[in-house]
């Protein structure tokens, strides 16, 4: 039993009797953070594929002007499902899955602080996803993932799909909040001896910040959708202007959540990149403190910029100016991160393994997304760009570049730890280049489509100018991108059974998850080493070398269990 009296509880370092879980039913009852992490990752990836199919159907519809492949109703359902799926059922919970699996391993803990709560978080997420997707068989929601009132009110959207959307936000929101509390408690209390805040891996810093953002932002959207629910069914008028309510209130509440949500989605990805770059550049991260501090700064500033989504609403000029400046301000710590990453590569010895490729691809895309974000922060310019394909391009550079590419980097980096087997490098590279070029072909041209005057969320457009050509280019790109994703799916499916055995530390990495075997035993570590720097594995490897040079020294070493250091590949 852990006692919570000391600030950092002791981590028991005896060999736990590891009862191997039996049979497929054990997946329903598991409270092991690693198995829950796997459940999260597999589930959310399935939703990612569903959201991707929805995107491809939209791209097919837009592949030709005045196309009639889908009806306006179905098209509205498609973009509503796509946006909602990617945000609530893929990126946020995928990050929770990665955090679930790797935060305890990286900080040298044996599980999350509250294992049963952890299981509950996952099952709430799945319930939310199932309720939402069940609506496909009746009336899927069609008011967009932003569900602006009054369009989302019962008068304009009587279908049950809108209610399914509300339940999805509630269930996944609760799942996220509980998960965030759990992660916070784990990171605050269960770190390995010697792991001070200044030695916390940057991925864990990112997850800590992600958790705080969720705890502050999610209750706001939970409140907003509850108000929408009572407006729809119980006669309240929060968002009904005809009865003293305010349609703008919805936008304020939604974006007060919505902007921090962007950072909830990308900060963990930043953390992944900050872990992977030093490993493949064989060089310490440049400016550890600046990266950790900029993560926290971004999170704080993220709560001051929500109204940049509302520049076109009736809103006082003072707020327009304030929000423009606060949005500028947030570009500074974001830029600092990018500079630090490039400086990490600088004078290193960069090994072009697939995880590094995805990270480098991410940085190059995120630079574009960051710069187009500055255009959008200038409110008079935003008046021309918002609600057009320029914004669609921007959010995909930020979220697909910032979250999806980093998630793929994480898959290639950590798959060996999770399964004990390597993914195929060849297929990984093919997947990366297809995704990278597919992405650029799909989304670069969308800036132009927006500048050309095409609003987003329209099921058809007239054949004027080069709009048809631009849209065809984008559609072709989206299928190349999809092919790239499929290559990774195939790679994972094949390598789970037949990949090369990875060994505990195939990349010669820096953090503690590589100290234990791959896959890790149920208790994670028999012995947790004392952490002396931000790169404990580097210290341990050095120590091992030193001892093997002098074989007589210190038999039965307390910190390095025999066999933990067979360095593979």
């Amino acid at each position: 039993m852990a006692t919570y009296a000391p600030p950092i509880p002791q981590i028991v370092t005896h060999r736990a009797e590891s009862s191997k879980p039996q049979g497929w039913t054990s997946w329903f009852t598991t409270t092991d953070h690693k198995r829950i992490g796997i459940l999260y990752m597999v589930t959310t990836f399935v939703f990612f594929l569903l959201g991707g199919v929805e995107a491809l159907m939209m791209r097919l519809q837009l592949g030709a002007p005045n196309n009639t492949l889908v009806t306006p109703q179905v098209y509205n359902q498609l973009f509503t499902m796509h946006g909602t799926t990617m945000v609530f059922l893929f990126v946020v919970p995928m990050m929770a899955g990665l955090a679930n699996y790797f935060v305890p391993l990286m900080i040298g803990a044996r599980d999350m602080a509250f294992p049963r709560l952890n299981a509950m978080s996952y099952w709430l997420l799945l319930a939310g996803g199932l309720v939402f997707y069940a609506s496909v068989f009746w009336n899927p929601p069609e008011a967009g993932w932003t569900s602006y009132a009054p369009l989302s009110n019962s008068y304009f959207s009587p279908g049950g799909g809108q209610d399914a959307w509300i339940y999805l936000v509630h269930l996944t929101g609760l799942s996220s909040i509980l998960g965030a509390i759990n992660l916070y408690a784990t990171i605050a209390n269960m770190r390995a001896p010697g792991m001070s805040w200044g030695r916390l891996p940057l991925f864990v810093w990112a997850i800590l910040t992600y958790s705080v953002l969720i705890i502050f932002a999610m209750p706001v959207i939970a409140g907003a959708v509850t108000m929408l629910l009572t407006d729809r069914h119980f006669g309240t008028h929060f968002f009904d202007p005809a009865n003293g309510g305010s349609a703008l209130l919805w936008q304020h509440l939604f974006w007060f959540f919505g902007h921090p949500e962007v950072y909830i989605m990308v900060l963990p990805g930043f953390g992944v990149v900050s872990e992977i770059l030093p490993v493949f550049a064989r060089k310490p991260i440049f400016g550890y403190k600046a990266i950790a501090a900029s993560t926290v700064a971004i999170a704080f500033l993220g709560f001051l910029t929500w109204a940049h989504h509302m520049f076109a609403t009736p809103i006082p000029e003072a707020i327009l100016v304030f929000v423009m400046l606060s949005s500028f301000l947030i570009a500074v710590p974001t830029g600092v991160k990018i500079f630090n990453w490039i400086a990490t590569l600088w004078r290193g010895t960069v090994e072009f393994k697939t995880p590094l490729l995805f990270c480098a691809g991410f940085i190059s895309l995120f630079i574009i997304g960051g710069i187009s974000g500055v255009f959008l922060a200038v409110f008079p310019v935003d008046w021309q760009l918002n609600e057009t394909y320029f914004v669609v391009a921007h959010i995909h550079f930020v979220l697909m570049g910032g979250a999806v590419f980093t998630i793929f980097a994480a898959i290639y980096y950590w798959f060996p730890k999770i399964t004990g087997r390597m993914l195929s490098e060849g297929m990984g590279k093919v997947s990366f280049w297809l995704m990278y070029w597919g992405f650029l072909i799909t989304f670069l041209i969308q800036h132009v489509i927006g500048l050309d005057g095409m609003p987003r969320r329209v099921y058809e457009y007239d054949n004027v100018g080069h709009l048809a050509l631009y849209n065809q280019i984008s559609t072709v790109g989206s299928f190349i991108l999809a092919l790239g994703v499929l290559v990774t799916v195939f790679n994972v499916a094949r390598s789970v059974k037949s990949g090369v055995i990875a060994g505990p530390d195939p990349w010669k990495a820096n953090t503690l998850e590589w100290f234990t075997s791959s896959p890790p035993p149920p208790n994670n570590f028999d012995v947790v080493p004392r952490v002396r720097s931000v790169e404990p594995m580097k210290d341990i490897r050095r120590e091992v070398e030193r001892r093997s040079a002098a074989p007589a020294a210190d038999p039965g070493g307390a910190t390095v269990p025999a066999g933990a250091m067979q360095v593979g590949v």
Binding site: P72, Q73, N76, E142, Y148, P150, L151, P241, A242, S246, A247, L248, A281, K283, P284, I285, F286, G287, Y288, A290, A312, T313, P314, P316, M324, F328, L329, V332, G335, V336, F339, I342, A343, L345, R347, G348, T349, V350, E351, A360, I363, S364, I371, F375, P380, V381, D382, W383, Q384, L385, N386, E387, V448, L451, D452, G453, P455, R457, G465, H466
Partner: protein
């Protein structure tokens, strides 16, 4: 057709937005080339090779403070440029000498905190009403002698050239967004609120746009057109609209009276 910049050419505010955009674009291109270049260079130059050893550097405070300040300075410059441009984008100018001559109370408006007016206070005020899935334009002035029934039009807004037009944007159902790219930015029509913008067209012609905020299944077909004609033509058009509306109202009156007789005298209180 716009490729690198937003559309412009219809109204000074759209032109000013496009020129502000262009300034940002040039600064952005420099930053883009520098940062992507540094990334590409680092990846290529420092790729792993036989015998290469990675430098074990953990940071450089001077450098880090330097690029933080540099990023901040660029953004301060952007903010200053934006503030310099703001007035030209937001504040309407007076109508030109060949513009519509606004008489009486029709054209005179009262400025409020939200609504910007030209220096002489005169602009043609048109109320834009968004509804699923069309735009209605309500003009100042009464169609009938008793002061009732402002003239209105659907789908195509007709305006006089060289005249400052001030728009009062409202909605009667869900949130819409008014947008004619060549005449300036978008402004949401939010039920229960008023939103304002303006434009001044010098070239006669039709300027196309459409609703830019998802408003339901017909959103993609919620088209907005602005047709600019010389003031004389506009006046004739407006007078004709007034006649049409007065006629329609008169006919409705007769129909109501007939209906009242059929039902029985006394049952219809208000003919």
């Amino acid at each position: 057709m716009a490729f690198f910049t937003p559309q412009s050419g219809g109204s000074p505010n759209a032109d000013e937005i496009a020129s502000l955009y262009r300034i940002i674009l040039y600064i952005a291109l420099v930053i883009f080339v520098l940062v992507e270049g540094a990334l590409g260079y680092a990846l290529w130059k420092f790729r792993a090779r036989k015998g290469a050893v990675a430098a074990q550097i953990r940071g450089n405070t001077r450098l880090e403070v330097g690029w933080t300040v540099a990023a901040a300075v660029i953004l301060v410059v952007l903010a200053v440029i934006t503030f310099a441009k703001l007035s030209a984008i937001q504040d309407p100018s007076n109508s030109g000498p060949n513009g519509q001559h606004l008489v009486g109370s029709d054209g005179v408006l009262y400025a409020s905190a939200e609504r910007k007016l030209p220096p002489n206070g005169k602009a043609l005020n048109i109320t834009v009403v968004g509804r699923q899935y069309l735009w209605q334009y309500v003009y100042p002035g009464a169609a009938e002698a008793d002061g009732l029934g402002a003239p209105y039009a659907y789908e195509q807004m007709v305006v006089p050239t060289e005249t400052t037009v001030s728009l009062d944007i409202v909605s009667s159902d869900v949130v819409h967004s008014w947008w004619i790219p060549e005449l300036g930015g978008k402004f949401q029509a939010v039920p229960g609120y008023h939103n304002y913008t303006w434009f001044k067209i010098s070239k006669p012609g039709v300027y196309r746009g459409q609703c830019a905020n998802l408003c339901g299944r017909g959103h993609a077909r919620m088209i907005a057109d602005v047709k600019a004609v010389p003031p004389a033509q506009f006046e004739a058009w407006l007078a004709y609209q007034k006649v049409l509306i007065a006629e329609a109202n008169a006919q409705a009156k007769i129909a109501r009276a007939k209906l009242g007789k059929q039902i029985g005298a006394g049952q219809v209180e208000n003919p």
